[in-house]
């Protein structure tokens, strides 16, 4: 095919070569749209320039043909770095960008994305409510910068206010958080897990860095879905976070097919830890009321085989509510604050 240089009929600027004969080009200078045949299909807009770019000094990165402005790093996972970013356009979208730091784990990002898409499409009871508390997939692909290695990346919607992990909570409250706050976090986590299990999956990594808290609204989100496995396939967990070995049930339990009990047990261990206790033994500080302390210790001990663990998250939540009622009386809203929050 003969190629010829197209000029914009609006302003005379050179246009890039069209990818196909039926494509439509947008003039970079005046914004007119021009068909590959050289005819204007959309009038030149009355205003030549768009709004000034957002934060022009911040780095840009492209995933799946969409360019994002990197606003900064939110945190580092076991094998990926997580950034806050926004679509580099006036009609923008605030997103979380997850980029593989360990190249060998690139496959995990793709699997996680597919799983979260499946969960978003789930028809399990409560899906309308709970899907908003799971990462919402936006795009996946290879993150390309002007320089540097292309890396596997996934993009999720940013959830306003969910910006503090359990790990950060423990940094702010080194001797442990208020047990009343731990109760609502535990209940929110169990409700969410109840939905996930009903939707046919086990999270498999209910660890402090994966539990995100909204302090004002008493909300909780669950991130870090790379270890998740489908229920009923008789497959055991296939990934372990080396830095959080203490939060997993004993090896013998891990080799059994993954079941909701694993999530429930890991959740209890995370709660023990965020209250200032020891996740392995389940022992909590002395200021934790007895009914709660007993329930937590039993949950952590049950993994050693002493008694059958609770295998339903909703049933577990009932136990938590009963223990909290015994410890604190009827449920009451108790504010929980973190630095920066009013």
């Amino acid at each position: 095919m003969e190629t010829r240089l197209l000029k914009c009929p609006g302003c005379g600027a050179n246009l890039p070569p069209p990818s196909s004969i039926s494509s439509i080009l947008t003039c970079e200078y005046c914004g007119a749209m021009v068909s590959a045949k050289g005819v204007t299909v959309w009038p030149r807009p009355t205003r030549p320039a768009d709004d000034p770019p957002f934060a022009p000094d911040r780095p840009r990165v492209t995933v799946a043909d969409t360019r994002y402005v990197l606003l900064g790093r939110l945190g580092r996972g076991d094998s990926s770095d997580v950034f806050l970013a926004r679509r580099d356009a006036r009609l923008t979208e605030l997103v979380v960008l997850k980029v593989a730091r360990a190249l060998e784990d690139a496959d995990l990002l793709g699997a996680e994305y597919a799983l979260l898409e499946a969960l978003q499409a789930s028809q399990a009871q409560g899906a309308e409510h709970f899907t908003r508390l799971l990462p919402q997939p936006v795009a996946q692909g290879v993150a390309k910068e002007a320089f540097g290695t292309p890396r596997r990346a996934t993009v999720y919607r940013w959830a306003s206010g969910f910006q503090h992990t359990f790990t950060e909570l423990r940094d702010v409250y080194p001797s442990g958080i208020d047990p009343r706050a731990a109760v609502w976090m535990w209940k929110r986590a169990l409700e969410l897990l109840g939905f996930v299990h009903r939707a046919g999956h086990v999270h498999g990594a209910v660890l402090p860095p994966h539990l995100l808290v909204h302090p004002r609204d008493h909300g909780l989100m669950l991130v870090g879905w790379t270890s998740a496995v489908a229920l009923g396939r008789d497959t055991p967990l296939n990934l372990l976070s080396a830095a959080h070995r203490d939060f997993y049930p004993p090896r013998r339990r891990l080799e059994a097919p993954a079941s909701p009990a694993i999530d429930i047990a890991m959740c209890a261990r995370s709660i023990v830890w965020v209250m200032g206790g020891d996740p392995v033994t389940g022992v909590t500080p002395s200021h934790v009321p007895r009914p709660l302390a007993d329930l937590l210790r039993a949950q952590c001990a049950s993994d050693t085989g002493a008694e059958a663990p609770v295998v339903d998250a909703w049933e577990m939540k009932e136990h938590v509510s009963a223990a909290a009622h015994e410890a604190f009386g009827p449920p009451r809203f108790t504010p929980f604050t973190l630095p920066g929050w009013r």
Partner: protein, 330 residues
């Protein structure tokens, strides 16, 4: 257009008497009203005038297919005065509202109906109740939203934009996806414009957002999953998922108030709505619907997340994950 003054009390009394009227008496059209035919319209204009020196053009493009038809009804019966009142209270002095109706150009008789920008309650109400609620719609999971966006982009002229470089607002309600292209043939038949070829919908959005702040409102959470993703690709965080269609008006007014900076953040908006007598339940739903977009503006009332100024990782790093099962051979 846009002459006449706005009176909340007159508007209230106009809508109050209708609570018991059946829909057929409120919306009497059985076809597109001749004055709402888009064909041959050159401009719909929102203009400044002596009475309205600071006009702000606002388009309400309402999906009138199937179950979406109850939103115009809701507006006509009770909520439109509340919208106007909320705007006036939020410091928008001279709002001018234009109503459009959106159907499906493949199967409906009147897939696009267009009113005029109006400032007075009586005229605004007249265009709204002239809408023909055809109630049809396509079968393919898409409606002709792109035609409404095309019309607003190519055939409306706003003084707020032209004189003050201040964008107007374009609200569209809907529960389906847009078609991927504006059909050259449909544009010729319905509007009378000659296009060289079909125009991709994202180009239409590009053109629309030059003079408008566009928003797409999905009426409830159950319907969000059939169209949210497609709309987000086009409009990003300007896709607003409501929990109940009755919140449409409060959410739209809240969006204007946040964008205009009339209210500094969501906390201020919540206090404002509470003073206005909104129930606790509805207040929560409105705030939840607005939160993601407010976050984009930095007005969600939460502290900035703690960010480290780090670039993307540069080298390969060891994984902190231990594989209990060997990864598949690559």
């Amino acid at each position: 257009m846009g002459f006449g003054s706005y009176s909340y009390d007159a508007h209230e009394s106009l809508t109050r008497g209708r609570a018991a009227l059946p829909r057929q008496q409120l919306f009497r059209q059985d076809r597109c009203h001749p004055l709402m035919e888009p064909h041959g319209v050159r401009w719909r204009e929102s203009r400044d005038s002596a009475g309205h020196p600071a006009s702000l053009g606002i388009v309400f493009a309402l999906d009138v297919t199937g179950s979406m038809g109850h939103i115009p009804e809701l507006l006509a019966r009770q909520r439109l005065p509340a919208f106007m009142k909320a705007l006036l209270e939020a410091g928008v002095a001279d709002p001018q509202v234009l109503f459009m109706a959106v159907g499906d150009a493949h199967s409906d008789r009147a897939p696009l109906q267009v009113g005029q920008f109006e400032s007075s309650e009586r005229q605004m109400d007249q265009w709204l109740t002239w809408l023909f609620l055809e109630g049809g719609g396509g079968a393919a999971g898409a409606e002709s939203y792109e035609l409404a966006m095309y019309f607003a982009a190519a055939h409306t002229d706003l003084d707020c934009w032209r004189k003050r470089e201040h964008r107007g607002y374009f609200f569209m309600t809907g529960d389906e996806r847009p078609h991927g292209y504006v059909s050259r043939k449909q544009v010729a038949d319905l509007i009378g414009d000659t296009l060289e070829q079909d125009v991709p919908v994202r180009h239409v959005v590009d053109a629309l957002q030059r003079a408008y702040e566009p928003f797409f409102l999905i009426p409830d959470l159950a319907r969000r999953r059939q169209c949210e993703r497609d709309w987000r690709e086009l409009l990003g965080d300007r896709v607003i998922c409501l929990e109940d269609a009755t919140d449409t008006v409060d959410v739209a007014a809240g969006l204007v108030a946040l964008c205009e900076g009339a209210l500094p953040d969501l906390d201020a908006l919540a206090r404002h709505l509470q003073r206005g007598g909104l129930t606790r339940e509805r207040l929560g739903a409105v705030v939840r619907a607005l939160t993601p977009f407010a976050a984009t503006l930095g007005r969600d009332g939460t502290p900035q997340p703690r960010l480290e100024d780090e670039p993307l990782p540069e080298h390969d790093a060891p994984s902190g994950l231990q594989r209990l099962v060997a990864p598949p051979e690559r």
